[in-house]
Symmetry: C4
Subunit: 233 residues, 4 copies
């Protein structure tokens, strides 16, 4: 027993959803779950196949990126998670995948335009693609800088991390987050579907129009905020 059992459990279950949802090949992804009171998170160990994962293999890391508990080396992306937990103060989970369509948009270095209500049900903005970092940052502390690359991309666009729970890291792949690890994984799956639909939309109509503002607002407000009427409660 450890006081971290709860987040280990949440991180394990969320990680196992990635292959179930078809979002990862081999070990190309990782999810973490945070305990805000203890200022730590549980994250997938690096390079361990999903079929060999278990709750007790999750690594506990603090928000500076230091391992607090666990015998395995944490995900190579751990410092990115740490930076995001430190700066996005209300999130409880982070998910990183190399899902095919979202990654293709990241490789294209394009924001994903908001073409329809599937997108607007989740956010009112285009999904940002953070510009690749400069060479100094890459040669410095790369994963740490990736966290700031994400934070800065939102800042430049004047978007709050609670309004936009998904991002593309240019030439790399998507990161998503949320109140819980399960929500972060949900966002990874939604992003992949939105990325696929936007790709198909442009293939069907090269000059497709973005969704108009009234529809963006309407669909987002159906699901979010004081007047929402989607779901139970």
């Amino acid at each position: 027993m450890s006081k971290y059992d709860e987040i280990k459990h949440l991180a394990y279950k969320a990680n196992m959803q990635l292959p179930e949802l078809g979002l990862v090949l081999f070990t190309f992804g990782n999810v973490s779950a945070a305990d805000r009171e203890e200022s730590v998170f549980a994250i997938k160990p690096s390079g361990v196949p999903y079929s060999e994962l278990s709750e007790d293999k999750m690594v506990i890391v603090d928000f500076e990126g230091k391992t607090v508990e666990g015998n395995l080396r944490p995900s190579s992306d751990t410092l990115t998670h740490a930076v995001l937990y430190k700066h996005f103060e209300t999130i409880g989970g982070i998910s990183h995948t190399h899902s095919s369509y979202a990654t293709a948009w990241a490789q294209s270095q394009r924001d994903i335009p908001i073409y329809g209500t599937t997108h607007a049900d989740h956010t009112t903005y285009d999904i940002p693609c953070a510009a690749p970092m400069n060479d100094d940052m890459i040669q410095g502390d790369y994963e740490y800088q990736t966290g700031f690359q994400i934070i800065n991309a939102l800042k430049e666009r004047n978007i709050n991390y609670e309004e936009m729970e998904m991002i593309l890291v240019g030439n790399h792949a998507p990161f998503t987050w949320g109140k819980t690890a399960a929500k972060a994984v949900y966002n990874s799956a939604v992003l992949e579907e939105v990325a696929k639909m936007a790709y198909l939309t442009e293939s069907i109509k090269a000059d497709a129009l973005r969704l108009k503002d009234a529809l963006i607002r309407k669909h987002f407000e159906r699901k979010h905020g004081p007047g929402s009427y989607y779901g139970q409660s």
Copy 2:
């Protein structure tokens, strides 16, 4: 026991077909089944995952959109269903999904051209894409207006709802209907396949030709009308 058990059962079974047919991610879809004698329909509760669905969770709603029986909030698209049941007087089921290819055509705001016999086996017309509604309608009673948006798109094209059991709502996603809830779901799957084939057809040949009239009529009549000879009986 309730006098609505039959339509709850039909609605439940039809809803469960959506994930089996690969037509929904998470809860992005809903199906209803109508009882014409009682002027009510059973519909999926809002935001409830398919894995947690059961017959007794179906919500009974009348054709004005008022809940008649059930403890859960009905689908956020319930008013659209209600309007369609009221105006399409012979239908017994409605299905709504965000399936990838059909949604991409909706986001492109293009009708799906009739390129082949797979399409003509089901309807003699291009699949209409209803133009996005104006801002007043959006800010009014949105889901109610979506019903009229669908009705009007058929009217403008002079197509009867019995000849065309599928439609794309511009920038949103497809709705389909039929004599039964099972037929409505069948139409959702056919629409997705027809949408995929039309997308591939234009990719393979940018100026692909529509199917000629003689073939459209022949294939439709093989399956429908007095001289049909497809299926048993």
Copy 3:
């Protein structure tokens, strides 16, 4: 017991492979198996879902298209099968699907160019797309004429049916055949994969080159003819 049990069994098993190989949605396909001594074939009944199929539901039809045994109506494409069995004298099975990529090429009314060895392993020619038939033929005996449409497309290209066991019917969908029903279904799956690869090839390189003659011959001869060395015996 019936003297047709063997072909009923073969037809049933071959039909059941279509959904297993992902080649059909609902009932959009049919396979038949011939008994050359009896000049009959067993074929799927029309419109019966694969999940409800059984050996004894197969319908026995002669090469004129007349039902010889069975209570169900045979596939609506039965006359096409009958014509092909009559004219392609050494074949023992025919398969018809609406598989997505092959159907998209048919809708594009283009032959599938031979771009690689996956294609050349099976035939040395582009896969022909038969031109849509003229209106008189459509309004006449349509399925019967579809058989001749296929026969004529091969004749025009001076290709023997033993050298080319697959064809696209323009605006419609593929037909394939072979020594056995199992081989016909195998060809349906190969055609779908070849159609997908050719589509991707042109997307990656708009002016992709056809495979050169020496490679076409080499790969075909590896698998076929006197000097073949693929497979056992």
Copy 4:
């Protein structure tokens, strides 16, 4: 019992991964596992369906391509494996598939540009596409020459086989290798995913930029070489 039991086991298990990973249709692929001390490898028998494969059906072949043990005919691509084992002295496994996206790039005769970190995690170079061989070589000992075609393509680009464990054979399909048969199959799956992502990237942005050098080096070094920090130990 045979002194080759170990490589038969490894070859069998690696071959069976191909259908599990969705990399083969029917028998369109083969994997081998080498025993460097005995200078032999175990390879799939030719044309045998994966469902009928077993460890004892694997064929033992020496590096000249001569069968050493086994009653079945080895894969028709055996000579290509033999040549590669002879010249790539540290590899222990080879995998050959006709996976859809990688094969489409091969048919396009284009190298796969390095567009993102998924690619750079595995190699710092574009994936080479070996030019189709000349007609004399094709009519000579084709599979033997395919081995040299691969070796020469790396030589021309001045790339070592340990730095690039995957290649496209122009107009044909991919070959991959690695320290073990399992690693070779892993590389087949990675190549297919990288090929898919590069295709999507160019579809989303026709003039997409290659990954910049600093990112290529960073991602490769995260996983490989003295300073690597991916995985356990």
